[in-house]
């Protein structure tokens, strides 16, 4: 599954376009178009004008047949553009679903009679597996269905699901026990208890989601549709009303013709909010797809939209906010020694230390002081590994004659204190202050000594990930509060919270505390999002409005969530929020644009339709369109081609910039509101000029 390749193809991959085009014709079937009532009404109007065209051809009365014909053609195109936009949005998802289906071909499973790796098994097709069955999966076997590892550990290639080819470890017990059907065991063998019946597996759900077969309109989408349908009805009545108005006027003035059916239909289609109605399905599908490209699967469209509304974000400290390991961040030398001296000694003492702390000291010394790690041979140095007894590690550097020239030790402050005191030295009182300060800030002080002298202190702390502070600030600027959840003691938690600039934290958190916290926020009316992976996160995930489970997480966690992150990267939540907002914004902006367009269309069509009755109304022809037919055609054509022109915007979503609501509103009103009023004036005028060149 080549994710990267698909991304680079973009929207206008010829193959996708071709399929989308074919699909768009299939979607003209009223039985499928009824889901989009506005476009269905346009289709009905197209049928009416087409019939009218044939009548015109045969009878040869009324307006010229070429006019009726061209209007009908463009009305049909309007509907096709709409179905095309939807097909195009579905296309990419479908391509991915197809490749997933390939991996879903029937797998033969080794069904165990007893849950032991060495036990007897029979070969069973995956379609026959039921919840609770136990199977054995050996190297190079495909895992037949979703399940939980109950014995053993194995390397699993999950590319079929995640698109990521690097294999991951799946083992029994703990938080990495879930396996997904269709993935492949690379090494070792495991015993798996099946947790899903055929048709209900993760892959099944993914395929149906991606295909859009189960795509249900979100409440928000329905609310918007209510508005669009109501507007369509009103515009229908406006057009219906125009007939008697013009009949009466023509009779009263004694000149001119009442508005013809073709013109009425043209006016209706131009006024109806076709632009947004045409692109509405595509916006939702494309949003899902954009999430998909970020390797996130939303189990419902509702979840993504809810993500856009989230105002409290619960984040696990470890792995999300911090790297999860304590790292050296500072050298504090003792009086009489320089930082360089301390750094060099600490680096030496850590050369053989493979712990993350040890490595971080080497790296810090290199970065800060340009100290290159010396390579010492055994003859030059004797490494002292960490011992539980001394609670120290270190190095003895030997002179060529074998005598010890340096004897560096690092370890906990009290361990080093007793070490130097044993060597006849003393722990400098000046350093005590630093030690206290580090402890207070939630960090760990590590003392370094050479023989009887304390060289100084290394400050170890849980390091906050780069860029995370900025992301939190971004979130704050759009009104989202971040809460850090950690098992640390309150002191450490407070220090890290302050450094990462989260708004709040929950220390020494137990699962029930998380649940309580979420409930409290929800009671105050907040929308809460959280990420989790462990089984003990499941209740909290189920309670949260937006629950993101890591794909590496346990089955209960994945079941409790409504969004699954295949990359298992907790900061994804931020992307999800952004995409959720983008979907809503795109809908709102295109609605405003679509309705604002109507102003210009009125100015094009009304004078053209009524000028035979009242030539005075030509003052409304502020675009100076050349003649009534071309004016009406230009409006109809503009109304149609604006749909494909806006398809890229609908698929990519309008750009989201984090800024306060008020500024964002002004910005979007300016671009899509004012722009929506002005754009068609320009577009219709240009089309009118073009039509007159062609004819």
């Amino acid at each position: 599954m080549a994710t990267s390749k698909e991304k680079s193809k973009g929207i206008y991959d010829p193959k996708l376009l071709r399929t989308a085009l074919m699909d768009s014709f299939k979607k003209l079937d009223p039985r499928s178009l009824w889901r989009n009532p506005v476009m269905l009404s346009v289709e009905i109007m197209s049928v009416i004008t087409t019939i009218n065209f044939f009548i015109n051809m045969i009878v040869g009365k009324g307006e010229p047949a070429w006019f009726t014909g061209t209007v009908s053609t463009w009305l049909w195109l309007t509907v096709i553009f709409a179905t095309f936009a939807e097909s195009l949005a579905e296309g990419r998802g479908r391509a991915r679903a197809d490749s997933m289906k390939k991996t879903q071909k029937e797998i033969i499973a080794k069904k165990l009679k007893k849950p032991e790796p060495g036990g007897e098994y029979e070969l069973v097709p995956s379609t026959k597996l039921r919840k609770g069955d136990i199977i054995l999966v050996e190297a190079n076997d495909l895992i037949a269905s979703d399940g939980e590892v109950i014995t053993g550990a194995a390397l699993v290639n999950e590319a079929a699901v995640t698109g990521e080819s690097a294999p991951v470890v799946r083992e029994s017990g703990g938080d990495r026990s879930a396996v997904t059907g269709g993935t492949k065991v690379i090494a070792n063998r495991i015993v798996v208890r099946i947790t899903a019946n055929p048709g209900e597996t993760f892959l099944d759900r993914m395929i149906s989601l991606v295909e859009g077969a189960k795509r249900r309109k979100t409440p928000n989408e329905i609310a918007l549709e209510v508005l669009l349908i109501a507007l369509t009805i009103v515009f229908f009545l406006v057009v219906l009303n125009l007939k008697p108005l013009s009949l009466y006027s023509a009779k009263a003035v004694g000149q001119g013709h009442p508005v013809t059916l073709t013109v009425l239909v043209a006016l209706f289609v131009c006024l109806a909010p076709t632009t947004i109605a045409a692109l509405l399905p595509a916006i939702g599908i494309a949003g899902m797809d954009r999430l998909f490209q970020k390797n996130v699967i939303a189990l419902s469209g509702r979840a993504i939209e809810a993500a856009g509304d989230v105002n409290v974000l619960l984040l696990d400290k470890t792995g999300t906010i911090t790297f999860g390991n304590r790292m050296a961040t500072e050298f504090i030398p003792a009086p009489m020694f320089t930082t360089d001296h301390l750094a060099e000694a600490a680096q030496l003492a850590s050369l053989a230390d493979e712990t993350p702390e040890g490595r971080s000291i080497v790296v810090l010394a290199k970065e800060k002081f340009g100290l290159r790690a010396q390579s010492l041979t055994d003859s030059q140095a004797r490494f002292m590994p960490f011992s539980v007894l001394t609670r120290m590690s270190g190095i003895d550097v030997l002179d060529p004659d074998g005598s010890v020239s340096l004897s560096v030790r690092k370890g906990a402050v009290d361990a080093i204190r007793s070490y130097v005191e044993a060597n006849g030295g003393s722990f400098p009182a000046q350093l005590n202050e630093s030690v206290d300060a580090i402890s207070r800030s939630g960090g760990t002080p590590l003392a370094v000594a050479d023989g009887q002298f304390v060289l100084g202190i290394v400050h170890l702390k849980d390091v906050v990930k780069g860029g995370i502070k900025e992301r939190f600030a971004e979130l704050r600027s759009i009104g989202i509060k971040t809460v850090m959840i950690t098992g640390d003691n309150p002191l450490t938690a407070a220090a890290i919270a302050a450094e990462a600039k989260v708004d709040d934290f929950l220390a020494q958190a137990k699962p029930e505390d998380k649940l309580k916290l979420i409930r409290e926020y929800q009671q105050q009316g907040y929308m809460v999002a959280m990420t989790g992976d462990g089984t003990n996160d499941a209740p909290a995930l189920a309670q949260a409005d937006v629950a993101v489970a890591m794909n590496t997480g346990t089955q209960p966690a994945r079941e409790a969530a409504n969004i699954i992150d295949l990359d298992s990267n907790p900061t994804k939540l931020l992307d999800i929020v952004e995409i959720g907002k983008q979907i809503l914004m795109t809908r709102g902006n295109l609605t405003t644009f679509s309705i604002a367009n109507d102003v210009a269309k009125y100015f094009a069509i009304i004078p053209a339709a009524l000028c035979t009755i009242y030539p005075q109304l030509l003052v409304l022809n502020i675009m100076h369109l050349s003649n009534p037919y071309s004016a009406i055609l230009s409006a109809v054509i503009f109304n149609a081609i604006i749909i494909p022109l806006l398809v890229p915007l609908a698929l990519k979503g309008t750009r989201y910039r984090p800024m306060p609501a008020e500024k964002l509103l002004i910005h979007n009103l300016f671009v899509y509101g004012l722009g929506g009023i002005l754009a068609p004036f320009v577009g219709i005028k240009l089309l009118d000029l073009l039509i007159n060149v062609l004819i």
Partner: protein, 598 residues
């Protein structure tokens, strides 16, 4: 001279709106206290009376209603009111207080009038002084003036409770809201206003009409008729007329002041006399004119502030007040400009100055424009000038104010609730535009809210579009038009705009007392009143259940300038898109023709 008048008019308008803003705040605060059941300065007087009413009627003071119970109570009450008024008008000839010996209304006129007064429309297809008895005026029409106004106010208060209460079921008690509205708000203000109006010369009596001798006798030409009542013509085909001298004038009397005050205060607008507030017995002086306009706008303006108080943020109320004020001032500006410039055709024949045709000299241009815009911005519909005689664009302003849905202050209660439905739609689209599921005052806007808002906002427009179409394609509809052409189209449009939006003012020129128009306008009034009212109560029932979402930086602020501008745009765009063709073929083309000098 025109400059001095212009200056004085602007001054009058400025003073008026400064005063209105003060009234909005103090009356609004008072109303909020009344509806929240708090003690007010009038409690010592009215609380015993209020409790007495509850004891007699058996109303449980502490019972709360859900939206359905509230709606049923409202419907039953209005239905009964309608039946009583219908019967009274039909049978008025048999009742006392009828010095002029009027007979009963025709069934369709009685129906139309009963519907008209219970729906707070006060569309008058009858002429007060020549068909309604004093009993009908006092016991029928004036009573409904109080009750229909109180109904509108009760509904908006129920809706505000839906916004203000959190995760609840009930939205108040209709009977309580109704009683309190009449007792604490409408009645005391109407009494004081009536006294002040009497001081200005508004009459209040039950005597028969008086014949008075004219100081200067006059005469008119009457066509001479033959035995079959056909006009006799001379050899050239011209009618033969006889000169009839007039030495006496009959002056209608009646209990005018008591009805005048509530007519304005409750945005009812049904005049005692046919000439409405242009009649010197209804509106004698520039001061009474000023007071009447203030009465028209007081409660609708005050309710915006009451909304702010009741939802806990007066800024929210002021924001809506600002939107309404802006639209009204805009309308005043355009109408003043149109009337000030006058009619070029008339100017060509040597009559200079602004258009005074159909206006009362004692009110001047300022007093007329302020009245005519205020009465159509609110759903009052009283008039102090003939709207038919305004310039085409000047006459388009009252029409547009009604077609916007009576949201520029609007009727008492109904104006604010319709505006709130617009707010819901505006919040919805703006909310999407900033990437959030939309919410207003902490309540999420979802499918139910959308349906109900859309119904509330668009019902009147749909009725106008449909009924105008029907009137224009039926011969009976067309035959009532006095001025064929664009002006006649405006007359029909105005009639349905006025009734569907429960305004009640008449453009004139249309013979509305026919079976066709009586039934059509009655239906328009019923739909225009009760469908939105029910939708609003249903929305309140949905909102009241929701929990409150606290505002954050990401929340759309609905009390700031950007949203205020957006709301103005939404109101104008919805109105403009719905009525662009009709307005183009009516007043707009008439204006062009006038400018073109045809």
């Amino acid at each position: 001279m025109q400059n001095t008048e212009l200056f004085l008019d602007i001054l009058q308008i400025l003073v008026f709106f400064s005063l209105l803003t003060l009234v909005a705040k103090f009356l609004g605060r008072y109303m909020a206290r009344v509806y929240q059941g708090e003690r007010t300065m009038l409690s010592p007087v009215f609380a015993p009376l209020e409790n007495g009413i509850y004891r007699v009627t058996g109303i449980d003071k502490n019972a709360e209603m859900n939206w359905k119970q509230y709606a049923v109570a409202m419907l039953i009450f209005n239905c009964l009111g309608m039946i009583v008024l219908f019967a009274l008008l039909l049978l008025q000839g048999h009742f006392p207080l009828n010095p002029q010996k009027f007979s009963g209304f025709s069934w369709h006129l009685a129906l139309n009038t009963a519907v008209s007064f219970t729906t707070n429309t006060n569309w008058q297809a009858y002429s007060g002084e020549s068909s309604a008895t004093y009993l009908s005026q006092v016991l029928g029409l004036a009573v409904q003036n109080f009750l229909s106004a109180a109904t509108g106010m009760a509904i908006v208060i129920a809706f505000i409770r839906g916004l203000a209460r959190r995760t609840s079921e009930t939205i108040g008690n209709f009977w309580l809201d109704l009683t309190r509205t009449v007792l604490y708000i409408l009645f005391p203000i109407a009494v004081v206003a009536a006294v002040v109006l009497v001081s200005q010369g508004v009459i209040q009596n039950f005597s028969g009409y008086k014949n008075v001798s004219l100081l200067q006798s006059t005469s008119y030409e009457k066509p001479k008729l033959d035995a079959d009542n056909n006009p006799i013509k001379d050899i050239n085909g011209n009618q033969i007329t006889v000169k009839i001298p007039v030495k006496e004038q009959r002056l209608p009397m009646g209990p005018v002041a008591s009805q005048e005050a509530i007519k304005e205060l409750g945005t009812n607008g049904g005049g005692f006399f046919n000439a409405n507030s242009a009649h010197p017995y209804e509106n004698p002086t520039p001061f009474s004119n000023f007071l009447e306009i203030l009465l028209i706008l007081s409660i609708p303006a005050g309710l915006t502030y009451a909304l702010g108080r009741m939802v806990g943020s007066s800024r929210q109320g002021w924001a809506l007040y600002a939107v309404m004020l802006f639209l009204l001032v805009l309308a005043i500006g355009v109408q003043y400009w149109a009337e000030y410039n006058g009619n070029p055709l008339v100017q060509k024949i040597g009559v200079h100055g602004y258009n005074m045709e159909g206006k009362e000299v004692r009110f001047g241009l300022g007093g007329t424009v302020l009245f005519s815009t205020s009465t159509t911005a609110t759903s009052c519909g009283a008039v102090n000038a003939m709207h038919d005689s305004l310039t085409p664009l000047g006459g388009m302003i009252p029409l547009v104010l009604m077609l916007l849905g009576e949201v520029v202050f609007g009727g008492v209660g109904s104006g604010l609730y319709t505006m709130l439905a617009f707010v819901v739609i505006a919040v919805f689209v703006a909310g999407l535009m900033i990437g959030r599921t939309p919410e207003y005052l902490g309540k999420k806007i979802e499918v139910t809210e959308m349906w109900m808002s859309v119904i509330t906002v668009l019902t009147a427009g749909v009725v106008v579009l449909l009924f105008v179409a029907i009137a224009l394609i039926t011969p009976t509809g067309v035959s009532s038009i006095a001025n064929p052409g664009p002006h006649g189209l405006s007359e029909v449009l105005y009639a349905f705009a006025s009734t569907a939006n429960n305004n009640g003012s008449a453009f004139g020129g249309l013979n509305a007392n026919t079976v066709f128009y009586n039934l059509m306008t009655a239906l328009a009034m019923l739909i225009g009143r009760f469908i939105p009212a029910l939708a609003i109560l249903a929305m309140s029932g949905s909102l009241v259940k929701k929990k409150y979402v606290p505002p954050s930086v990401g929340t759309l602020p609905t009390d700031q300038i950007p949203f205020i501008i957006w709301l103005v745009v939404v109101v104008l765009i919805v109105g403009a898109l719905t009525f662009f063709p009709a307005l183009a073929l009516g007043p707009f083309v008439e204006h062009l023709i006038m400018q073109g000098g045809i």
